[in-house]
C-alpha cells in the first residue's frame, strides 16, 4: 500500500525533511512512528500529496502522488487530520463539514447525505447547528474525525491525532480508528508513542532524523534486538522501538 524508494524531501538548500526513505508496508492500519523532528509530518505531507518529493519514488495505494492525474485521484480518495487543526470557533459543525465537502469536491447533490452520514458515524447528529466554540474538547476531536469521513475515503491519514487527549478520549479515538479499519478503510497513523502503534497498527515505519530505521510488522518491531520479555501488550513494541532508537543513536554517535 505504501512503497518508497530513495524517497527524499528538502525544505531548503541545507534542510532535509526526509532522507533516502525505503519502505514497503501494507495492511489496514499502518503506523508512522518516530520522535519529534523525525520527519513524520513531512512523510505524511508526501503521502497526502500536499508536497512533492524532491527525489525518489513513492506509491500510495498504487498511485504516484508526484504525477498530476494520479495526485488528483489520490486526493479525492483521501481523508486527512493535520497535526494541529483548530476549527474556527464561530463556525457551526454543519458549516465546517460543508466546507470540507467542498474542499474534497463532494458532489453538491450528495453533500447533505455525506455530512449526515459522517455526523452519524461520530455521534454528532444532534450538534449539527451548534457553533464549534460551544463543544467540549472531546466532541471537537470527534468533529475532527467526522470531517475525515465526509468524502467516504478509502485511505485515512492521521497526523498525531492523539496529542493532548486524556486516556478515555484516547481509547475512544482508537476505537473509531479500529471501526474505520473494520469498514475496509486503510489508515495511516503518525504518532510519537509506541503504545498507539501497538494498540491499532498492523505494520509500522519507524523514522528518526529523517531516516527510515525500520519498516515491517508491529510484531517484527517488537522483536528488534532480541525476543520480547513480555510478548503481550504494548511493552514489547515499546522496547523494540527504544532498542531501535538507541541503535540509531549509537550509529549516529
Amino acid at each position: 500500500m505504501l512503497a518508497a524508494s530513495h524517497l527524499a524531501y528538502r525544505y531548503g538548500p541545507r534542510r532535509w525533511g526526509l532522507l533516502d526513505g525505503h519502505f514497503s508496508v501494507g495492511g489496514p492500519v499502518v503506523g508512522v512512528l518516530g520522535p519529534t523532528g523525525a520527519g513524520k509530518s513531512t512523510l505524511l505531507a508526501l503521502l497526502t500529496a500536499a508536497r512533492t518529493a524532491t527525489s525518489g519514488t513513492l506509491l500510495v495505494s498504487g498511485l504516484d502522488p508526484g504525477e498530476r492525474r494520479q495526485r488528483r485521484q489520490l486526493r479525492s480518495r483521501l481523508g486527512f487530520v493535520p497535526q494541529s487543526l483548530s476549527i474556527h470557533p464561530r463556525q457551526t459543525v454543519g458549516e465546517f463539514l460543508a466546507y470540507v465537502g467542498w474542499l474534497r469536491r463532494v458532489p453538491a447533490a450528495g453533500l447533505g447525505q455525506a455530512i449526515a452520514d459522517s455526523l452519524l458515524a461520530t455521534d454528532l447528529t444532534e450538534l449539527r447547528d451548534r457553533p464549534v466554540r460551544s463543544l467540549p474538547a472531546g466532541t471537537r476531536h470527534r468533529l475532527v474525525l467526522a470531517q475525515v469521513l465526509v468524502n467516504r475515503p478509502s485511505l485515512v491519514v492521521l497526523d498525531e491525532p492523539l496529542v493532548g487527549l486524556g486516556p478515555e478520549q484516547r481509547a475512544q479515538f482508537l476505537a473509531r480508528v479500529a471501526a474505520m479499519r473494520d469498514d475496509g478503510t486503510t489508515v495511516v497513523l503518525a504518532t510519537p508513542l509506541a503504545a498507539d502503534v501497538a494498540a491499532v497498527c498492523t505494520e509500522v515505519v519507524v523514522l528518526a532524523g529523517g531516516r527510515t530505521l525500520f519498516s515491517g510488522t508491529t510484531a517484527a518491531l517488537a522483536g528488534v534486538g532480541g525476543p520480547a520479555a513480555h510478548p503481550a501488550g504494548p511493552a514489547p513494541v515499546l522496547a523494540g522501538y527504544h532498542r531501535l532508537l538507541a541503535g540509531a543513536g549509537a550509529v549516529a554517535g
Binding site: 505531507a45 500536499a50 483521501l78 493535520p82 497535526q83 469536491r105 453533500l111
Partner: protein, 410 residues
Amino acid sequence: MSPGLRALRAELTSRAGLLVGLLSVTVALTTGLMRMPPPTGPSWSATFNEALLGLVGLAPVCAGAVAWLVQDYQRRGIAALAGSSPRGAVGGALPRVGAALLWALAGYLVLLLISAVRTTHRGLPDWPPLLLVLLATAFLAVGAALGWAVGAVATVRAAPPLLGVALFVGVYAGSYGDDWVGRLTPVDRMAVYRSFLQPHVRLVLAQVAVLAAVAALALCVPLAGGLARRWTGLSAAVVLTGAVLVLSKTDPDPTEIRAAPRQPACAGSGVVVCLRPENADLLAPSSMALSAAAAALAPYLPVPMRFSEPGIDRRVDHGPGVYVPPPEPGDPLAFEAAALAAILPPPCPRRVADASATMAYGDVLIWADATVNGPAGIPAYERQRFARILAQNVPGQREWVQRHLTAACS
C-alpha cells in the same frame, strides 16, 4: 446554491469577513466624503479618477485583511487540511481571499457612488473612463495577492498591518510621482485637475497589465507545485516586461490623451466656437461671450475667428483660440473671463516670476475687460489711469497693448 458559493457566503458573513467589510466601507466613506467634490470637466473621467484616488486607503486595507485571513488559515491547520484535498491549499483559501476582495470592491463601489452623486455630469459615461474601473479592480486584486503572499510566508502577527502601511506609503508617494513612478502608480492625483483629461487607453491598459503581472508574481508564493509556479512566474515576468516597455514609451501630453471628437458641437458664423459634444449646453453662452469679446478687441490686436476646446483643432492646452469653457452654463462673468483668456492668453509659455511682467499682463486684461464690457470692472484706484488709456485713439491703444504684452514676457 453551490457548495463553493456557500463557502464564499459563509466567509463574507463570518465575524472576520464582516469586520473586513466594515473597515473597507468605513475607509471608503471617510476618503470619499472628506474630499472636495471633483472639479469635473467635460467627461466622466474626473469622477472615475476621484473614486480611484480613494483606493490609496482601500487597497492597503484589502492587502492587510487578506494577509491576516491567510495567516489565520495557516495557523489553524486549515491550509494543511486543504493541501491534501483536490482543491489544494490555494483553492481552499479562495473563499477567504475572495470574501475580502469582494468587500474591498464594495468599498470601491461606495467611492464610485459618492463621486457619481456629487458630479455635475449627466448621462452615461463613454467607454474610456470605464477602463479606470478595470484599473481599480486590478489594483485591489494586487492588494489581495500581496496580502496572500505575505500571509503565506510571514508568521509574525505584525506582518499584515505592516504590509498595509507599506502599501499605503508606497502608493501615496507614487501618486505624487512624476514620469516613471507616476506612470507605474495606478493613481494620479493630477488627473482630476485636467478638465479635458480622459484615460489614455494604451497607458491604462499597460498599467492594468503591470498590476496583473505583479499579482501573478505575488501568487507564485503560495502556489504549490513547481511547474504551475514556474509557468505563472514566467508568464508574469514576460507580461511585466512588455507592459513596462509600453509604459516607458507612453508619455502622452494631456491634450493627446483624449481623441478629437468626430463631430464637435460648433456654433457661430463669423466667430466660430467648437466644443466637445457633451458640452453642447455651453455653446450658446460661449458663443455670445466670444463674439462680443472678438468684436470689441479686433481693432486693437489680431483676434482668431475660430475657437475650440483643447485637443479639438490643436494639440495644445493654451494659446490664442484655445478655449476652455466654464463647467456650468449659469455664470456670464465666467464665460467673459474664459473668452478673454482665449483671445489674450498669457504671451509666454510660463509665467515670468517678475512682478512688473505680471502687472503688465494684468493691465492688458483690465484694459480688455473694460474695452469689451465697459469701465465698471476697473478697480477704483486704477480708473484715472485706464480712462486716459481708453481715451487714446485706436493706433495709440494698439501700440499700448503691444508694449504691455512684450513687457509681460520680459
